[in-house]
Every structure is written in C-alpha cells, then in structure tokens.
C-alpha cells in the first residue's frame, strides 16, 4: 500500500504531482491511500516522474473537484485518472457512476464559487497610511488619488478562494481589497493579487452605504407576491449572517400582509387637479390621421394609422410608397417583407436587391420611380426564429386598394408595373395566372398596367436556370417599360 500525505497548503499541486507519478508507474487505485495534513504516517517515497497524458476535460474537472472538502476526492480523481488510461472518452459518459459522482462534486464547487461572487459584501476601510518615504527620500505619491480600500468576510462551503479571487481582481482593479475566509484569504494591493491562510472573523468598521442598500432591498420588494421557497433556494440561510440586507427580511415579511391589505381596501383617490390638463395637452399633440386627404402627404400620414384590415396589429408599421411625386413609372409589389416592415421602406430586403439589379440592367433609375406595394402591412407567421411571409388574402388586398388608388390619383403615373399575382389582381381585378400575361400591357380604367414577375418569386425558384430566365424577363419588362415612357 502506497501512502500519500498531502500538505495543508499546496495540496492541489501535491496531488497532481503524486497522481502523475503513481499513474506513470502503474500503481492501481486500490493500492494508494490518500491522506491530508500531518497524518500518522509519512508519505512513502513516490516513483519517479513519468509521462502521463490526460484529456483537457480531466484537467478542468480535477482543478474543480480538488476545491471540494470531500476527503474522498483525491481517491475518486485518481480512480478516474486510472480508468482514463484505457478509456479516453470516459468523461463524456455522464451515466458512469464514478463520472456522475465527480460531476456532482464539481457542480457543488462551481455553485459555491458562484455564490461567493454574489454574496461577498465589501465594507470600506480607512485608506492605507500615506505612502512611506521611498528609498531616495522623496515622498512617493504614486501619481493618482490614493486607492480606496475595502474588506470582506465570507464563509464558503469549499476551498474556493484561490479559484474565485481572480474574478474580483478583474472586477475591482482600481481599489485595494481583502477577502478573508476561515481557511484562505486573498489580498489585492496596487494591482497585485496574493493569497494566504485563513483568519478568524475580523471586526470591520461600519459602512454608511449599508443603510442605503438596506433601503433599496426593502423597497424593491413587492409585498403582494411572497415566494419564500424561491428566495431560500437561491439565497440559502447559511449565507444570511454575512449579508447586511438579510437582517431586514423578518420585518419585511411581518409587514407584507398589512401593506397589501391597505392597497386593496384603499378607495380610488381623486386625481391631482393638474393631471387632466397635462393629459389633455399631451393627447392634443399626438399624431393622428388628417380629417381630409388632399395630397400625397396627407395620404401617407393617414395610412400610418390604417386599421382597414387586421394586419396592422401584427406588422411593425405601414410601409408607404417612396419616390418622386411626379414619377412617370409606378412599380407595385405584393407587400412589405421582413426588412421592409422593420425599416418602413419598400423594396429594401433581398427582393429589393433583385429588383435593383434588374432596374440597373434595364437602365431604369430607382429614384425616378414610385415604388410601392399592393398591401401596405407585412403579413407573416412566426416559424422558429423567423417570420415567414404569408400571401395576403383577397379581403386584405381589397381593403388596401383604397391606398393604392390614392397613390395613383396623386402621382398620375403614365405606366404602372404590377409585379406578381397580388399586384396584378389589385390593379386589374383579374386573378388569372401570370404565366401567359407576363410582359404584356393591360388597359384598365385607371390606365395601362404592365405585368411581370415578382422578385421574391424569382428568389424562390429552386431551379437556377429557371431563376436566371425569370430574372432576364423582369429586366426585359423593365426595359420595355422604359421604352414605352421614352
């Protein structure tokens, strides 16, 4: 039997060194007895260091589990190390009883470390005595204002100060601080972190901020929703004695029911006199739809308040057309898509990109065209993490034709291009498929309408050849529109 006695300090390193040597020498777990502190026996001499490689995951697991207080941790870790020699993937099997046990220990350590980050409470202590005279006799002022000093007393379950102190060093780099615990301590002075042995509970001076903190704690609490179990599971009682705010809890609970009763039985009060005037003034200034629509601008403002169909409840905003008010060509799509809905502008998403390319190829300048949609609100259905486009139904198209008609009336385009079936129906009243109508100009009561593919349809075509052909046709139709208007 090989006896290994680990020292009271530095036992993490000592365990690693001993385990590496023993595993290298092929000493099975059953023949090793791990002890801590000055035991009855001295360590047996260890075998010479050999090369032992372990997966990265084991190094992390061992670092964590070694902080646990369970005296069996050394033997358990060595048993896993031993088995890893024949089964490199052992740690990836959470169903293995030994792995499950070590994972449990690691979880306890991580939780304790997390609670330390949460529940350490610093008190400010008087700043360090003025810097001593430095070697050459001049006063060392260090440049900036003196660093403020803070100290805390904390009682963790496990030996976690060493693994948790760097967190405080990253967070509180501009102050000096000390965290004392029964077993370990950490000191941070002038940017240097040092660790040492534990200490008894110190007598820290009172800190005025604790009263303000207690004020916050008692007032952020909602007496109408008591959930004690939730509080205790996350902030177990064992921590309360070192939390200044926990002293307030009994009184808060004792008074909660009375406070809720008072709220419930209180009669509605009379509003302050100024309230009505304030509300009236603000509401008078809120944007609202104009009473009469006499211009394109009026129509745009009115459309922002449109509730002619139910789509407005779900979409972000009305997407009105854009372009010059005297445009000769008006291009009408189906409805805004995801991007158009968010930005409030037509044809700015992927379909807009296809249209832009086709217009550029056909020599049609985007800023000379009035771009709009047959339906002004985005219709969609949520799916996974996205919003999937849904085609507007006949009722929605009919409701929205009111706005399309206003755009036509105020802009008076010489030619309208309808892209896709929805726009074709909105402008011609015919639902006949686009296949045979594309590229033609149909006369309507409100003027000539040319029909073409919608760019989204081109994007959805699975066959690359068919998509390229449709793209070319859209470009050709735009070019023809330009010729008709020339």
């Amino acid at each position: 039997m090989q006896v290994v006695v680990l020292p009271a300090t530095g036992w993490r390193e000592a365990w690693r060194d001993a385990a590496r040597r023993l595993a290298g020498a092929g000493v099975p777990p059953g023949e090793v007895a791990w002890q801590t502190g000055a035991g009855l026996f001295a360590s047996d001499p260890l075998p010479p260091a050999g090369a032992v490689t372990v997966p990265r995951a084991f190094v992390d697991l061992a670092d964590t589990v070694l902080c646990h207080r369970d005296p069996e941790r050394f033997a358990l870790l060595y048993a896993v190390l031993w088995r890893l020699r024949g089964d490199r993937g052992l740690l990836e099997n959470p169903a293995d009883p030994l792995v499950a046990r070590l994972n449990g220990l690691a979880r306890a350590v991580r939780r304790d470390s997390h609670k330390m980050r949460a529940f350490v409470r610093f008190r400010e202590v008087p700043a360090a005595v003025p810097a001593p005279l430095s070697g050459d006799g001049s006063l060392d002022c260090g440049g900036d204002a003196p660093r403020r000093r803070f100290a805390a007393w904390f009682e963790p379950d496990h030996l976690i100060v060493a693994r948790t102190a760097p967190f405080f060093a990253r967070r509180f780099a501009d102050m000096d601080w000390t965290i004392l615990t029964p077993d370990e301590r950490a000191d941070f002075r002038d940017g240097v972190l040092t660790q040492g042995p534990g200490a008894p509970r110190p007598d820290l001076p009172p800190d005025a901020s604790e009263a303000l903190w207690a004020t916050y704690f008692t007032n952020i609490f909602n007496p109408a929703r008591i959930k004690l179990a939730a509080m205790r599971s996350e902030m177990p009682r064992k921590y309360w004695k070192n939390l200044p705010e926990a002293r307030e809890i009994p009184a808060m609970l004792a008074d909660a029911e009375r406070r809720v009763g008072v709220m419930r039985s209180a009669q509605a009060t009379v509003a302050p006199v100024r309230a009505a005037a304030i509300s009236e003034r603000y509401r008078a200034d809120m944007p609202k739809a104009p009473d009469r629509i006499d211009s394109l601008a009026d129509a745009c403002r009115a459309a922002a308040h449109c509730t002619r169909c139910d789509l407005h409840c779900h979409a972000t905003q009305t997407v009105w057309g854009e372009g010059p008010a005297d445009a000769a060509l008006m291009i009408v799509g189906e409805q805004p898509g995801d991007h158009e809905d968010l930005s409030g502008r037509p044809f700015v998403g992927p379909a807009g990109g296809v249209l832009d390319e086709a217009m550029a190829a056909a020599g049609v300048a985007r800023d000379r065209v009035w771009l709009t949609n047959a339906v002004k609100h985005f219709k969609f259905t949520p799916r996974g993490k996205r919003r999937l486009h849904q085609s507007p139904d006949r009722g929605e198209i009919d409701a929205c034709r009111w706005w399309l008609d206003l755009e036509r009336r105020f802009i008076q385009p010489r030619l309208i291009m309808a892209l896709g079936g929805t726009a074709a129906y909105a402008l011609t009243g015919s639902k006949t498929g686009l296949g045979r109508r594309r590229g033609t100009v149909e006369e309507t009561a409100a003027g000539p309408v040319m029909l073409s593919w919608h760019p989204s349809y081109i994007l959805r075509l699975p066959d690359a050849g068919a998509a390229a052909e449709a793209r070319a046709q859209l470009t050709e139709d735009l070019a023809q529109a330009a010729r008709l208007l020339a």
Binding site: R121, R171, F217, R225, R264, A276, H312, P382
Partner: protein, 407 residues
C-alpha cells in the same frame, strides 16, 4: 428630500419591472482602467422574499410622469409621492453599490417628464457619465422611451448593454384603452430599429473595421398579465411575433399586482402568479424546446394554459400516441418533448448513449425527472405498459383538489 427617501420612492416605483438579467453581454473588465466587469453569465447578488433576484440597481430616474397608464403606480393621475434623482445621485449610488459588490450594474427606467425626448436625453446622460467619465465596465440596462427620437435611441445603445421597450399589454386595443398616450406602432418601430441597428453593428465594414457595439446584450420587453382579458394563447402569440420580428432576448410576463393608489379601472385581485409561471414555462418551450404556439395552444383548450400541470406535460398528455419514446434511439427533438427531460438532461442522454444502452437508473443518476418521464419513455428493463394511456395519468400529476371548508 434626503437621498435615502428618494431611493425609497424611486426603487419602490421600479419594482414592477420584472427584468433583472445581467447576462449575455460582451466580456469586459477593469484591468486596463475603470471599474467593473461583465463575463457572460449574470450574477444575482441578493433575493427578496418575493423570490425575485437583485442583480441590478433597478430604479426610476424620476416617478413624475405625464402619461396616464391605468396599470401604473406613477401615472399622472396617481397621488403617489414623487421624487427625482439628479444625474450625480444615480451615478454615485451605482458606483458605491457596485464597489461593495451589491450589484452587477444599473437598470434605469423613468417616468416621462416634459417630453419623451427630454426624458430619454437625461437617461442617456446618466449612462454616458458612468461609461465615459467613470470608466464603468459593469452592466447597464436602459428602459427606452418608445416615442423618443431615433438618434437618442442610437446613442443609448452605445452605452447600454441592454435596451428594453415595454410592449405593456398583449393586444393593441387594450394598450390604446389603458395607456392612451402610448402607441403600439411606435413601440414596435423602436424595437425594429434596435434590431436593425444591432445587426448593422455586427457587420464589418469593407475596411474590416467593426463598428461600435450596440446593445450587446440585446433587447427585451415586458407584458402585463391579467390587466386585460387576453388569453394565454393570445399572449404567447404576441410573444412569438416579438421574438421572431425583433430578435428579443426575453419577453417578461408580469402578473398584474395591486399597486398603491390604484386606478378604479383595474381589478385589485391577488396577482395571478401561477399563470405567470405557466407562461414562462410555455415561453421556454417555444425558445429552447422547439414547440410552436399552435402546439401549446392545442393542449390548452379554451385558450388558457392548464394551471394544474405544466405546459409540456399538458402537451404530452394530449399527444400520448407519440409515446412511449425509446430513449436509446429517439432523436434530440423528440427527447426534448419528454416531460421531465430538460435541455441539460437531453444533452447528457445523447452523450451517454454513445457509450452503451441507457437504463432507468442511469437516467435517475443523470438528473432526469423520472417521476414525470416514466410514463412516457421506454428503456431496457422498463416499459410504462398501460400507464401511458391510463385515464388517470393527469390526476397523478395534478395537485389534489383543495378540500372545501365547512362553516
């Protein structure tokens, strides 16, 4: 008025905002100057007896307000005591609390004074002072005012880790009725702008330079539950549209609770805490378990979630034909639908079953909730038999009916 009194009033006024998250932002620390750090996971520094955590100093800049939202304690027509912090007071409280490790940072909200723009500008000034003048690296959450100008929203996103805009109520009509100064369309527009600006901030320019990060912890919102008549299905549909439309990190559901000096327009009943809890569970199912609103709704007859059993169990009880599931063969998506299996359990199952067939005891050891799961899974040595289809299966999980009192 003393600072302590102001703090009492302005934290009391802030407690109806449920969010206290301080997670999911970029990593920062103070080793190169300043004070504070953020490291991915948030930290809850304390818990109050209402079971809610305190992660941030959650306060209102002021509770003076020109809006008249019926559900809000700070509405203009309320007689609540009013106070207003100066910029320095908020900054000092934040830094001094932070130095003592009480908090992760600041969650600043405000009543609306003079105008949305004036209010928002003051809030942005506080965030800028913390970040620029004091080198504060901790977490900042700003509740933005939807009607404020887009430029102020853009500036807020440069200093804040998270921006939030409250949708307040699940349906436009109830918002217009209960909060006449608020407009659902401007709330959604502001959310849309935050999403687009965040996306743009993550794209490198053609020179390869990354623009300044914008609200790295994303945006969230809050909906009040129980102040209007919206059903749970309506609430979840709205949440689902918000998640997909604006890339929200979280939708918070807040059971409407009695407030001092309440408006006569609202019921002062006990806050529906169980309903709120079930909504959160359903929300998790949508975000992490692959459920759609329609699937959850199909198991919620009448439009409201079953208060007696959790929504995943309710779904499984309504879809027993899909069970029992062979744990050693089922794909991840199917395992996620087993009541009692969480996302962590499912990851462990997938990892462990590569090493050999799993048995009942293995699942217990890995932390699976077998009390619920046993009726829905099959393993070597375990079949639920008639249990899956037994008529009293729901009754085994539902809490016993409360005994009626004789008087």
């Amino acid at each position: 008025m003393t600072l302590s009194r102001k703090l009492a009033i302005l934290s009391d006024a802030a407690k109806y905002d449920a969010s206290c998250a301080s997670s999911g932002t970029e990593r920062r620390d103070s080793r190169k100057g300043g004070l504070g750090s953020t490291e991915g996971s948030g930290i809850c520094h304390a818990y109050t007896p209402d079971g809610r955590c305190i992660s941030l100093l959650k306060i209102l800049m002021t509770n003076f307000c020109i809006f008249d939202c019926a559900y809000c304690i700070n509405r203009v027509s309320s007689n609540v005591e009013r106070a207003r912090f100066t910029v320095d007071e908020v900054v000092t409280l934040t830094l001094e609390f932070y130095r003592r490790n009480y908090i992760e940072g600041l969650f600043l909200s405000s009543g609306i004074i003079r105008s949305p723009d004036v209010t928002m500008a003051d809030m942005v000034r506080i965030a800028r002072t913390l970040r620029v003048d004091h080198g504060f690296k901790g977490y900042i959450h700003l509740k933005t005012i939807p009607d404020a100008s887009p430029e102020l929203l853009d500036e807020a996103g440069l200093y804040a880790d998270r921006l939030s805009i409250n949708i307040e109520l699940p349906q436009d009509a109830s918002l217009r009725e209960l909060a006449p100064e608020k407009r659902p369309e401007t709330i959604r527009q502001a959310m849309g702008r935050v999403r687009l600006t965040r996306e743009a901030s993550r794209d490198r320019s053609h020179t390869g330079k990354r623009p300044a990060s914008f609200a790295p912890a994303g945006q969230s919102t809050q909906m009040i539950v129980g102040a209007d008549r919206a059903s749970d299905t309506a609430i979840l549909s709205t949440a689902s549209r918000l998640y997909t439309g604006y890339g929200l990190k979280r939708v918070y559901y807040s059971a409407f609770s009695p407030i001092p000096d309440a408006s006569a327009a609202l019921p002062l009943v006990k806050p529906p805490l169980m309903r709120e809890h079930r909504l959160y569970q359903a929300d998790w199912l949508m975000r992490f378990y692959g459920f759609s609103v329609d699937e959850i709704a199909a198991a919620a007859p009448g439009g409201d979630l079953d208060l007696a059993v959790d929504p995943k169990l309710a779904w499984a009880l309504a879809n027993r034909a899909d069970f029992p599931l062979d744990v050693n063969r089922a794909p991840r998506e199917a395992l996620l639908r087993v009541p009692g299996f969480g996302t962590k359990t499912v990851s462990r199952i997938l990892s462990a079953r590569r090493h050999g067939a799993l048995r009942y005891d293995d699942l217990v050891r890995m932390g699976a909730g077998m009390k619920k799961a046993r009726a829905f899974v099959r393993l070597p040595g375990w079949t639920p038999g008639a249990l899956t289809d037994s008529a009293d299966l729901r009754a085994r999980f539902a809490p016993p009916p409360e005994q009626l009192q004789l008087i």
